[in-house]
Structure formats: C-alpha cells, structure tokens
C-alpha cells in the first residue's frame, strides 16, 4: 500500500499496533454481532440456572440470577463502544476548538486559553464525573462528558504546539500567498498535518473512557442497572466474591484486553505515523491523565 494508506501498512508492521488493531476490530465486531445475536437474552433471569459453571450451553457460566455471562459480556461491549466513541467525539470537538483558540487567535486569548488548559489538566476525570453526576445523577452521558472534557484538554495541550509549528511552515505561508482564506488554509493544510498526533491521543483517550466507564458504573454513576455494562457486572458479582471468586474473571479480562488493545493501538499509531517521536520524548505518553478506575 502506498500514499494515503501507507501508515496503515506501517501500523500492521508494528507488533503492538497489529495487536491493538485486532483487539479494537474484534470488540467492534462483537458489539455489532450482539445487536442482532447473543447466545441468550443478556437480561433474561433463569433462577433454576443460577451459578452454572462454564460449559455447554452457558460457555462462560451464569450469574446469581441465571443470566448467561457470555451474553452479558457481548452486550456490554456495546456500551463500551458507544461510550468510547462518544467520549472520543466530545474530546475531539473540545480539543480541536481549544487548540485552535490557543494557536490561531490574538495573543491575549491564546495565552489565557493555554493557562486555562494547564489548569483543567489537573482535574482528574473521576472528579469531573462526580461533579456532573452530583447534579444530573448517574448515566452513560456522565462518562461521555467527563472523559470528553478531561481528555479534550489533553488533546488541546498536545495538538496546540503542533498546530503552531505547522502554522509557521512554508506550505501554509505558500497557501496564504496563493490566496487561500484562513479557513481554507486550516482545512487543507493544518488539520491533515496535526491529524497523526491527534489520532494517537484519541486512541489513548478511548482507553481511558473504557476504564472510566467500568469504574463509574461500578460506583453507580455510570450505566443504569438495566444497561449491560462490564463495570456494572463487576459490581453485581462482587457480593458473591467469597463464594464464586472466579465469576469476576470474564468482565475483568474483557476490560483489560480492551484497554490494552486501545493503548497498544495508540503506541503503534505513534510509531507508524511519527517514528522520531518515541525517541525524542519518552514522556509524551505521560500527558495522559490516567483514570485508574
């Protein structure tokens, strides 16, 4: 593959990138399949089937009310995908807006935005989430908005210097000289050039969204009890931890593999799109606010 899609071939060539891509595609596929088919109805209570060990027909066993764990995990991936995509969209919109304000506007505004971004970065996502859910109660929107806001400022912080660098590059000057309006110039030259940095950040942000969803749903601020969610499932299985300790394995593994996949996809994308970055700045990864929820 050449040209536009060459980065995809490079991504496939990096082992971490390949693993990340496979995991993310697999989760997406699971979520899509669960829309039309799961082995059992994920919310179907079958008291006579409670606490079945893994086997046939319940491949991963059943929980305290006889619900099929595999079906719950499959349906839960939907929630995960929706939350990750939603948080990613909010973070993208906010991140681009703040980065543009911080790079392209008048000096006083640029610097105020930069200071504001520096301040907001110190807010842990969970704290933002609790602020929001204290007001509106718990829901998946809380997760989408809190991760979106929390990660949007990170994207802004990382994208802004790239944006400024590109802004002073020759081809943008040439575009301006050729008579492009600032908006045309922005779309044609700036965004494609900052996209790599940005997509890498987005991938890490989605990993945080997945962890945040699990943590917030566990605490009761995320998915409502009627919604299939990995974090919620962990909370429900926790009461039986001393009797059925291994029941919490599937949801925990599902979350871990998804987060790992998104993290590695980000690492792989970084290597594929900018091979110098990892050598230049090993700390670049650490602008990420880790939500260890």
């Amino acid at each position: 593959m050449t040209g536009r899609w060459a980065w995809l071939a490079r991504l496939w060539g990096v082992p971490t990138g390949r693993f990340g891509l496979i995991v993310v595609l697999a989760i997406g596929a699971t979520a899509a399949v669960s829309l039309v088919w799961t082995p059992f109805d994920p919310q179907q209570v079958e008291i006579s089937d409670r606490w079945m060990p893994p086997g046939w027909p319940h491949v991963l066993g059943t929980d305290s009310s006889g619900r099929d764990i595999l079906s719950l995990i499959m349906a839960g991936s939907r929630t995960t995908v929706v939350v990750a995509a939603g948080a990613g969209a909010v973070a993208t919109a906010l991140g681009i807006a703040l980065a543009a304000l911080g790079a392209l506007t008048a000096r006083w505004l640029r610097e105020s935005v930069a200071v504001l971004v520096d301040i907001l970065i110190a807010f842990p996502v969970l704290i933002i989430a609790m602020m929001i859910s204290a007001v509106w109660g718990g829901s998946l929107w809380v997760v989408v908005w809190s991760v979106g806001i929390g990660f949007g400022v990170n994207i802004a912080r990382v994208t802004r210097p790239e944006l400024r660098r590109v802004l002073h590059s020759d081809f943008v000057l040439a575009g301006r000289a050729a008579g492009l309006t600032p908006a045309q110039n922005l779309l044609r030259h700036l965004l494609p050039n900052v996209a790599p940095v940005f997509i890498v950040q987005l991938s890490w942000g989605m990993a945080i969204a997945v962890l945040a969803e699990a943590g917030l749903s566990y605490l009761g601020f995320g998915a409502p009890v009627t919604e299939p969610s990995w974090g919620l499932l962990l909370a429900q299985l926790q009461q039986y931890l001393t009797v059925y300790p291994l029941a919490v394995l599937p949801p925990g593994l599902a979350i871990t593999v998804t987060v790992l996949g998104l993290n590695l996809l980000g690492d792989g994308l970084r290597e594929a799109t900018d091979p110098t970055l990892s050598r230049r700045d090993p700390a670049a990864r650490l602008h990420v606010p880790e939500v260890t929820a």
Binding site: L126, V135, L234, T256, P282, E290, A293
Partner: protein
C-alpha cells in the same frame, strides 16, 4: 528561581480560583432548587422561602461564591445538608484512612517500579526484559476494581492472610489491625499505579543509556551497568519526580474506587455516598479539597524539580 516560583505560584492561585468557581457553578447553578431539596417535597412555599433565606440562596451568585470562599479561607468548608455536621471536621476524620492509604500506595508503587523499570531497560531485547515490560503494560490496563477483587480472592479468600473488607471501628487505636486493613487496598492501587510508573522509569532509563555522558563513562572502562547507575540514574530520578505529581492524582482517583471495594471509611467513600445522596454543599467542599490537593502537589513537585535540577535553574 524566585521569578519562576512566583509565576508558578500565580498559576497555582489562579488554578484554585478557577477550580473553586467551576465546582461552585456546576453544583449550585445548574441543578434544581437546593432549598427545595433541604425542605423536602411536601414543604410549603413559605418553608422553602425561609430555608432559601437562611442558606443565603436568595442572594446573587457572586455574593454566594465570595461567602463560600471566605469561609473556606477561614477553614469553614460549610455544613452537610443531611446531617448538619461540619464538612471540614468530617474530612479531617476520614483523612485518617485516606492519607495513610495514599502514602502506602505511593510507597508500594515506587518500591517496585523503580528497580523493575531500570532492570527491564537493562535487559531490553532479551526475553526477561520483554516479559517485564509486557507485564507492566498489561497490569497498567487492569481496572483497579478488578485488581482489588483478584487480590481479595487470593490473599483473603484462598490464603486467608488478610481481611477482605472493613477497617477497625476504633480507627488507629490498634495500629496493627488498622495497617492490616490497609495492606490489600494499598497493594491494589500501588501495583496498578506502579505498573504505569515502571513504564515511565523504563523509558527514562533507556533515554539515559543513550546519553553521551553515560557512553563516555562506559568508554572510560566502567561497565555499562555501573556507568548507568553512577551517571544515568540521577537523571532518571529527576524525571520520575515529575511523574509522581501525576501519580498523586491517579492515587486519589484509585482511592475513591478502592475505598468502596474494601468498605474503608475514607474521603473517597464519603464522596461517593454524598454524590449519591446529592448532599451538594458537602460534595462542593470535598471536591474543592481533593482538586486543591492535586493542584498543590503539582506545584510542590514542579518547584522541587526546579530546585534539584541545576540545568533548569540555569535556564531560569
């Protein structure tokens, strides 16, 4: 240095003001009527009006905000809607659990991430080095709740060495029992945070190994490892200090979740309960204390970094 400290201090004060304003606005302005919440659904309009008057809710927002901040500066974080007790007193009491938990978690995280991070960098390209960094990457992706459950299963359910939940009712009266209650929770946070820290130590070490002064020392006849330890590690230590500031935020967040899992009567669990009960004045005070703490730690870490690193001092 002094100029840097003043600039950084301005940023800290600005940060605290912005944080308090955001918390105040989110909790006070957007939702429904706090007075109605206190009075109860069945109260008469007169009762609600009286409560609004007594809580100062009929005054303008800037006035209310200034009064709140004025109270905070005097050490008064407000009173709980539900119990009427002082928020500051409750936080101070719950901190007896949360602070030791946080410090213990941080110590555990540092204790294993620094040596393992350096070791995995030295063993890079070999099977054991790769195994170490793959493990770190994986553990860093584990949700803290689940890590806690796994540790409970192994150390409380199967081995029976440590309590699965709870904290002594009389607090630190029996330090041994209190400490035992904190070991598993602290280990949970420490391991997950430590895995992230280890990845950072590893990449900082790799970077140091590529530096000219380490290579020069190795060329003079030191072994690669000795050269790294004598000349490279002080620099690794410096960059680790910066990351510790970020880790503190992670540990606070971890504590909120883990106190819930282990039924520990700390600030995190109190916050979760208060958010659930919509005790807004209390949530407001608690959030301010937590974010203030994160901001202040960031400030101290930045200053410490400047003080220790001569290169940065010269640059300033």
């Amino acid at each position: 240095m002094i100029r840097y400290a003043l600039t950084r201090l301005t940023l800290l004060v600005l940060g605290l003001v912005v944080a308090s304003a955001l918390i105040f606005l989110t909790l006070r302005v957007l939702p429904g009527d706090v007075a109605l919440l206190v009075a109860g659904v069945n109260s008469s309009p007169d009762q609600v009006a009286a409560i609004r008057e007594s809580m100062g809710l009929n005054r303008s927002l800037p006035e209310q905000y200034l009064e709140w901040i004025g109270g905070v500066l005097r050490g008064d974080l407000g009173t709980s809607l539900l119990t009427g007790s002082s928020v500051a007193d409750e936080i101070a009491q719950k901190a007896e659990v949360t602070f030791p938990l946080g410090i213990l978690s941080l110590l555990i995280a540092i204790a294993f991430s620094v040596p393992l991070g350096v070791l995995s960098a030295l063993r890079r390209g070999r099977a054991d080095g790769t195994a170490m960094s793959v493990t770190a990457q994986t553990v860093a992706a584990v949700p803290v709740v689940w890590a806690g459950m796994m540790l409970v299963v192994v150390f409380a359910v199967w081995l029976g060495w440590l309590p699965a939940q709870g904290f002594p009712r009389d607090g630190w009266a029996d330090p041994g029992a209190a400490l035992r209650a904190l070991i598993l929770p602290a280990l949970t946070i420490g391991v997950v945070e430590g895995a992230m820290l280890m990845r950072f130590v590893r990449s900082a070490t790799l970077q140091a190994m590529g530096q000219d002064y380490v290579r020069a020392a190795a060329a003079k006849g030191l072994t690669r490892t000795t050269a790294l330890i004598r000349h490279g590690l002080p620099n690794v230590g410096l960059s680790v200090i910066t990351v510790l500031g970020l880790q503190v935020a992670g540990i606070i967040v971890g504590a909120v979740v883990i106190e819930q899992l282990f039924s520990l009567p700390g600030i995190g669990r109190m916050l979760v309960a208060d958010v659930g009960a919509r005790d807004l004045p209390k949530v407001q005070g608690e959030l301010l204390v937590l974010t203030g703490f994160v901001l202040i730690v960031g400030f101290v870490v930045d200053l410490a970094h400047r003080l220790i690193d001569p290169r940065q001092r010269e640059a300033a």
